[in-house]
Assembly symmetry: D2
Homo-oligomer: 101 residues x 4
């Protein structure tokens, strides 16, 4: 990721604000695939390999910009994710949620 960006001199544009905006933009492109579909229609549409691949592609764009942001902030993604999951363990106790609709 970092090499890809550096090889194109794109760090100058990779400010935290621009990367956050980019994640929002890619997330919207992902959401657009399901804009007018019910969950059932979405599940059916994703049976199509081309559709699934297009959706996976937008998901990859989100991840790519998230990793770029981690690089720009010099933050360890795994650490941030694991820290968040640990706090969520306490905030949403499994025994309270299991079995709920």
């Amino acid at each position: 990721m970092a090499e890809f960006i550096a090889a194109r001199d794109w760090q100058q544009h990779h400010t935290p604000k621009n990367l956050s905006a980019s994640i929002a933009i890619e997330a919207a492109e992902l959401l657009e695939h399901f804009q007018w579909l019910t969950d059932e229609q979405a599940a059916a549409a994703l049976q199509d390999a081309d559709k699934l691949s297009a959706v996976a592609d937008e998901m990859a764009d989100v991840v790519i910009y998230a990793l770029s942001l981690a690089n720009a902030l010099d933050v360890d993604v795994s650490e941030a994710v694991l820290g968040k999951l640990e706090r969520n363990e306490k905030r949403f106790p499994a025994e309270e949620w299991r079995g709920r609709a």
Copy 2:
């Protein structure tokens, strides 16, 4: 990730549409940190450890939902990201971009 979701019976809500909406929502919370700041003001604000940690937290939320979506779609994230980077290598040749403002 998958264990955390399964332990709370949250798969039922983790439809591709809901997860895409969730990524968009978290991306907006991330962007909100920089809403009225110039890139210079954002860089200054991020010198503060608490601010940086709050931003990293929102970034973690984006990644968490992206990984949840990958699980829901049964797609390999690394593969999707590497595939996209490979195509971007050709679409944006390094030699054309290097040195550009």
Copy 3:
């Protein structure tokens, strides 16, 4: 709208980029109300007057930033909307869509 902004010297922050980001941020807060709900659950939730009022409030924020953007761009909103609707009349002929599921 314009008076409200001018009275607080906020034009300096009301750049097209910041206002576009602000619309995206408010849109996500609106969407958050429905994040994990089916359409049926959302309809039920909106029977509650407080919920409806909270949703209307987020919608108002979207409109407020959209009007602020129109002011910043010196564009007439009504004209832009009517122009768009006219083009959509041709792009999506009523007789082709009426009766479709």
Copy 4:
């Protein structure tokens, strides 16, 4: 607006959740015009009539979906906006903000 939707039988898709998602999607398309630009570069780009018109078009899409949501919720937009502005008058007193950078 309402006539346009009714003539195409689109009310069935115009649920509050779908319309909120649609606003977020259009907001992201608006933001995309400024994704990698500084405020100065954005201002320069908007000197171009075609660019301005493309941006106004995305803004119109945001407004169109916001009005559609107001119709779906049976909420008066002007009332919601004026109510919000009134509360903002108190929340952000002009005399505290005037003259601040």
